[in-house]
């Protein structure tokens, strides 16, 4: 069923400081077109206040209703039809807050009136500060304030529950919200005692676990202490029984008696030991005496035997030596002979060697002498040759150097040329006649021709003839004279007078050079080396040798002996010497053999002699002793005495062995030690017993066994409790999880039908689309062509349109449930293009056939063509409030 608003009057509410009203609202589509700032949105706010805000509240929302700066009671009066019956609600806030509802059940005021409205509209009391549209029920969703519909939002719990109950039959399932919520609250509360919101154990679970841990620790502790006490008991028991044994041992007098007996026998033993010592000394003394006598007899006998054998040995040695001595003498003689022969051979050999050496010296001297004379001859020859060599060298030195020779030759040519030139240019004069008084250039002029080469004055008396030859003649004359001068100077330098001489001198010099070479060769030939006189080759060696010879006399030439003969003699002497040496060695060997044979015999003889002397000395000494004469009888008597002493010693030994004081002392000590140990053990055990008894007394009084039993049972009880608590908490967890799953599953079932209904409207806007609703019935996404688009990602215009369309869909579903619905849109579809706007207006017009639709808008042109009931706000006087 639709809710039909008929009249809305407002006074003192926000910007309506004056009373105003909208009247004449009809079924179907109503359009209120007013400019901005007129208060359209305030009208919607006032409607909500009238229906859903408690009249008595002073919450922030209610406070905001009063016009700014005015302390009035904002008042709203709404008339409407619901389910065919007329209703009126008049509500005043803040000052003189009141409500009055008139409906089919009559008039109601206060809480009763509020309750009637809630019952009618399916809303619940709003306890929030700023107003909660969720509590307004269906109209909270359908009365859409400005800008509220710009995004797609989900319906509140009330709408969801209503829609779900609408769909329950179709889905074949129900939500059962209230029962669920109650059970769920209880389970959550119980769950919270065992689990934290994140599923961690807490509260009772931890308490139970701690109780188990503490109880188990206590039980362990008690058990350990009890075990300790039990140990003490058993230790005490064993200490007591050991003590009993020790006491018994101490009480036993066997040892005491035994010790007494042992002490007595110890005395006897000591006496026996004394006797034994005496007997042993006696026996020792007589034995020693006997031994001495026997020793003396023995030594005498031995010395006698020794003397006899030494005499025999001496005899034998002496006879053997006599035999050997002869051979020895022979050998000595032979050796002496061999030695003298050897000496003779050595002398002969020295003679031969000396002769040979002298012969060889003579031979050498002779050879040197002939070599020296040859050297002297060659030296004389060398002296001649060297003189020749010096002369040739002097000649060689006169050779004019080639350069000087060339210069002379050139000068000669120049002289010749100068002479020719003078002859050609000179003035030839000839004097004939008497030449007296004629002077030429101051000198008497000779008859004959003359060549004048310069100005020449010829005086004839007082006259002078001046002749001047041509100029050329004069220079030729000059050239010649200078050439002649140079030539003369060159010759002077060389000590020559003419060119021919120069040439002759050069020829001689050249010949001398050849001579020098020949002389050098000859010098080399006369100065060879000579080994005999130690002369090296060359003239200098020879000259040096000759100089050194100055002192050497010319020795007299002697006869040269035959060296070969001398050599043969020396060899023969050598052989003789070797033989003599061999003979001597052989003689030495023979002597040594003889001596070797004699040596042992000699020492044997000496040894035998010494032994004999010794034996004789001993016999003499022994026989000289005073006891010697009665020795034999003394020995016999001493032996008898020894035997007697031995018998006595034997007896004493037997007696002493029977009573061993050491063994007896040991036994006494053993008994003493046993008694002492028993005493110590008793003291220790008594201490132990006392200590353990103390422990038992102090610990036993603490009731450890009781405590242990109690603690053990407490631990068991705690474990059982933990078991129960664990089961309980697991149960609650499972139940809670299961409830969650059940809710989710059930919610999911309603999504399909909701989507189906919404799709009817939305498909007209977005043909071929599919819709995706979440479990809380919020449109989440639109699927177009298989592509899912989240609502938040759609264009603002589409989002707004979808928001309006889903509201219409929910309104339809609520209508099915018979809920009083109406649709109010404040300034809707601001982002719609013309086509969409037309489509949306068409859809709204159709919806207006099922429910009252009120559009509040400022856009006159956009809605001008829309058919519907047009209204405006008018100032009025509120009646009777």
């Amino acid at each position: 069923m639709s809710l039909y608003l008929r009249r809305i009057a407002i006074d003192g509410f926000r910007k309506f400081r004056e009373a105003m009203a909208i009247e004449g609202l009809t079924d179907g589509l109503n359009i209120v077109i007013e400019p901005n700032e007129t208060g359209k949105s305030t009208v919607l706010e006032a409607l909500r206040a009238a229906f859903f805000v408690r009249h008595g509240t002073k919450n922030q929302l209610a406070q905001s209703f009063a016009p700014y700066g005015e302390a009035v009671g904002p008042e709203i009066q709404v008339s409407f039809d619901a389910d065919g019956a007329p209703w009126t609600v008049t509500k005043r806030f803040l000052r003189g807050a009141s409500i009055e509802v008139t409906g089919p059940q009559g008039k109601a005021q206060g809480e009763e009136a509020e309750a009637r409205l809630h019952a009618l509209l399916g809303s619940v009391r709003d306890t929030s500060q700023r107003g909660d549209a969720g509590s307004y029920g269906a109209l909270g969703l359908l009365w859409v304030a400005q800008a509220e519909a710009l995004t797609v939002t989900g319906p509140g719990q009330i709408v969801r529950d209503t829609v779900r109950s609408t769909l329950e039959a179709e889905v074949g399932s129900i939500m059962g919200g209230p029962a669920y919520a109650r059970v769920r609250t209880r389970i959550d509360e119980q769950y919270g005692r065992y689990w934290s919101p994140t599923g961690q154990k807490r509260g009772r679970q931890n308490e139970a676990r701690e109780r188990v841990e503490q109880a188990e620790a206590a039980a362990r502790d008690a058990s350990e202490r009890l075990a300790g006490l039990e140990r003490t008991f058993s230790e005490l028991e064993s200490a007591r029984s050991r003590l009993k044994v020790v006491h018994r041992e101490i009480a036993d007098d066997t040892d005491v008696q035994a010790r007494k007996d042992l002490t007595a026998s110890l005395e006897t033993a000591r006496a026996a030991a004394q006797i034994l010592a005496t007997r042993r000394a006696e026996h020792e003394a007589i034995s020693a005496k006997t031994r001495n006598l026997e020793d003396l007899v023995d030594r005498h006998r031995k010395a006698t035997d020794e003397r006899t054998s030494a005499e025999l040995a001496l005899e034998a040695a002496r006879s053997r030596r006599a035999e050997v001595r002869e051979g020895l003498a022979t050998a000595q003689q032979r050796l002496a002979d061999a030695r003298s022969a050897l000496e003779a051979a050595r002398t002969a050999r020295q003679e031969a060697r000396r002769a040979l050496s002298a012969g060889e010296e003579l031979l050498r001297t002779s050879r040197r002498r002939s070599a020296v004379s040859a050297a002297r001859a060659r030296h004389a020859e060398l002296v001649d040759l060297e003189r020749l060599q010096v002369e040739a060298a002097a000649l060689t030195a006169t050779l004019i150097p080639a350069k000087a020779m060339d210069a002379i030759e050139a000068n000669e040519r120049l002289v010749a040329e100068a002479r020719a030139a003078r002859a050609a240019g000179a003035t030839r004069v000839a004097l004939v006649g008497d030449a007296a008084g004629i002077l030429i250039d101051g000198e008497p002029m000779a008859i004959g021709e003359r060549t004048l080469s310069g100005e020449t004055r010829v005086r004839f008396g007082n006259a002078e003839l001046i002749i001047t030859p041509p100029a050329g003649a004069a220079s030729a004359e000059g050239a010649l004279s200078s050439a002649l001068e140079r030539q003369a100077s060159a010759f002077a330098d060389l000590g020559l007078t003419s060119l021919a001489e120069a040439r002759a001198r050069n020829d001689t010099a050249r010949d001398a050079v050849g001579e020098l070479r020949t002389i050098a060769a000859r010098i080399a030939a006369v100065t060879p080396a000579d080994d005999v006189i130690g002369l090296a080759s060359g003239p200098d060696a020879l000259k040096l040798f000759i100089v050194e010879l100055v002192d050497e006399d010319e020795a007299v030439e002697a006869d040269i002996p035959d060296v070969a003969l001398l050599t043969a003699k020396l060899e023969a002497a050598d052989t003789a010497l070797a033989r003599a040496e061999g003979a001597q060695e052989s003689a030495v060997e023979a002597l040594r053999r003889a001596e070797k044979e004699d040596a042992p015999l000699a020492s044997a003889e000496a040894g035998a002699a010494s032994t004999l002397a010794n034996a004789n000395g001993q016999i003499e000494t022994i026989e000289g002793r005073p006891e010697f004469p009665t020795l034999a009888a003394d020995v016999v008597r001493a032996r008898e005495q020894t035997a007697e002493a031995a018998v006595k010693l034997e007896e004493a030994t037997r007696d002493a062995t029977a009573h061993d004081p050491a063994a007896i002392t040991r036994r006494i000590e053993t008994i003493d030690a046993r008694v002492k140990a028993a005493g110590e053990a008793r003291v220790k055990l008594e201490m132990d017993v006392a200590r353990l008894e103390g422990t038992v007394e102090s610990e036993g009084g603490k009731g450890l066994a009781d405590r242990e039993a109690g603690a053990r049972e407490e631990a068991e009880a705690a474990r059982a409790a933990l078991q129960r608590i664990t089961e309980e908490s697991d149960t609650l967890k499972l139940l809670r999880d299961t409830l969650d799953e059940a809710r989710d599953e059930t919610s999911a079932k309603f999504v399909g039908p909701v989507a189906k209904r919404a799709k009817r409207h939305i498909e007209r806007l977005l043909p071929g689309c599919d819709l995706s609703f979440s479990e809380d019935l919020t449109l989440e996404a639109v699927v177009r062509g298989g592509i899912s688009e989240g609502c938040g990602d759609l264009s603002r215009g589409t989002q707004e349109q979808l928001a309006v369309l889903t509201r219409i869909a929910f309104a339809d579903m609520l209508l099915e449930q018979g809920r009083p619905v109406s649709l109010i849109l404040d300034d809707p579809l601001v982002y719609a293009d013309d086509a969409r706007l037309d489509l949306m207006i068409e859809i709204l017009s159709e919806a207006a056939e099922r429910m009252q639709v009120v559009l509040l808008t400022c856009r006159d042109r956009a809605f001008r063509h829309v058919p519907g009931n047009r209204l405006s706000m008018a100032r009025i006087l509120l009646d009777g409030v």
Binding site: V183, G700, G703, D706, A709
Partner: protein, 369 residues
């Protein structure tokens, strides 16, 4: 002559698995039993009380336990003969030395196997235990005890009867015909916690205050009238305050359960009753919840202590159960899921079973509300 035969006082037993207040009541009741015995002795003219072992629960009780025991005994005119049992065996420096230190002349600790002439011509032959575990028959020593001029010989021992097949605690076994063999006029035995007649002259007195779920009878003592040359006249006397009862019920619906409950509550004294109740059967979940709810909210509060073992009481959700939840939508879905988990079985199945039950409990609670 008349004497009181009792045993197995088990003083100081901790009762650790009980809540503290129950524990305190049970412990106190054991001491109160001493007073009860003393009063009965006086009422019936018995001068001697023979305690056949296990006077104390452990060999090392708290001092308070000892002092309480002694002070309670000394309030009465009779003589108390205490025999060490296997729980409180005799040893040097042990429990009994502590008791002797504090006890007056009216209390005799029989820690030696030595006959006592308690009245002229009346001899008491004790067989004390000296170890926690004894393998020999301690009563064999009876034959070595001299009882000069004995007209009446009374044996006092602790242990199970050989070849008797009881569930006695001790390992030592007493010859079943010990009374005849040792020409006893009466053999007072301890160890078995219920009253038990072996032969005309041999009895177990049982504990005067029951301490475990073993049988329904409350604790008793025996009044024994012994005469020369005749069998003794033995009369059990109730001394126990608490009754420990075990019940196993097979129930299939709430009505049957209620009937059992009502019958039981009518037949017992709930404040002095400790109840171990085992339930078996197959019921609807609603019924199971109802039964456990009654136990928890009603019976459990009436009796001193209630131990319910309901593992064998299978609560299957009935069609009605499931239907009632199904109309609640999501709760129905959750119930179905849990049912499926139960079908799968295993340890998770057990938890699921509990979870389902809890779901019903919480849902039903809403119904009541």
């Amino acid at each position: 002559m008349k004497l009181i035969h009792t045993a197995d006082w088990q003083l100081g037993k901790p009762y650790g698995r009980f809540e503290p207040e129950v524990r305190a009541a049970l412990s106190e009741a054991r001491f109160d039993a001493i007073d009860a015995i003393g009063r009965e002795a006086a009422r019936h003219g018995a001068d001697h009380v023979m305690v056949a072992g296990d006077v104390f629960d452990t060999e090392g009780p708290e001092d308070r336990t000892i002092v309480q025991a002694i002070s309670r005994m000394e309030r009465h005119a009779c003589r108390w003969w205490l025999l060490p049992g296997n729980h409180d065996f005799a040893r040097n420096g042990g429990l009994w030395d502590r008791v002797r230190h504090r006890a007056g002349s009216c209390i005799t600790v029989l820690s030696e196997a030595q006959a006592h002439e308690i009245e002229p011509g009346i001899w008491l032959l004790p067989a004390p235990l000296t170890h926690r575990h004894n393998l020999d028959d301690p009563t064999e020593l009876f034959d070595t005890m001299a009882t000069p001029g004995g007209r009446i010989r009374i044996g006092l021992a602790h242990g199970s009867i050989r070849d008797f097949g009881t569930q006695g605690e001790t390992k030592n076994q007493i010859a079943p015909d010990r009374a005849r063999r040792s020409t006893l006029d009466y053999l007072a035995l301890g160890d078995w916690h219920g009253t038990l007649n072996i032969d005309a002259r041999t009895w177990y007195a049982g504990t005067p205050e029951t301490d475990r779920f073993q049988r329904d009878e409350p604790g008793q003592i025996l009044l024994v009238d012994i005469g020369e040359g005749r069998d003794p006249v033995v009369t059990p006397i109730r001394t126990g305050r608490f009754q420990w009862i075990k019940r196993s019920w097979t129930v299939n619906d709430q009505a049957g359960f209620n009937a059992e409950c009502d019958q039981l509550l009518g037949s017992i004294d709930p404040p002095s009753t400790l109840l171990e109740l085992s339930l078996a059967g197959i019921t609807s979940l609603t019924d199971r919840v109802g039964m456990l709810g009654r136990l928890e909210n009603d019976v459990g509060h009436r009796v001193r202590y209630l131990d319910v073992r309901a593992a064998d009481l299978v609560g299957r959700p009935s069609a009605d159960d499931l239907a009632s939840l199904a109309v609640e939508g999501m709760l129905g879905v959750a119930a179905a899921k849990l049912s499926a988990a139960i079908e799968t079985g295993g340890p998770d199945g057990l938890i699921a079973k509990r979870a389902l039950e809890r779901l019903f409990v919480e849902y039903s609670r809403e119904d009541r509300a």
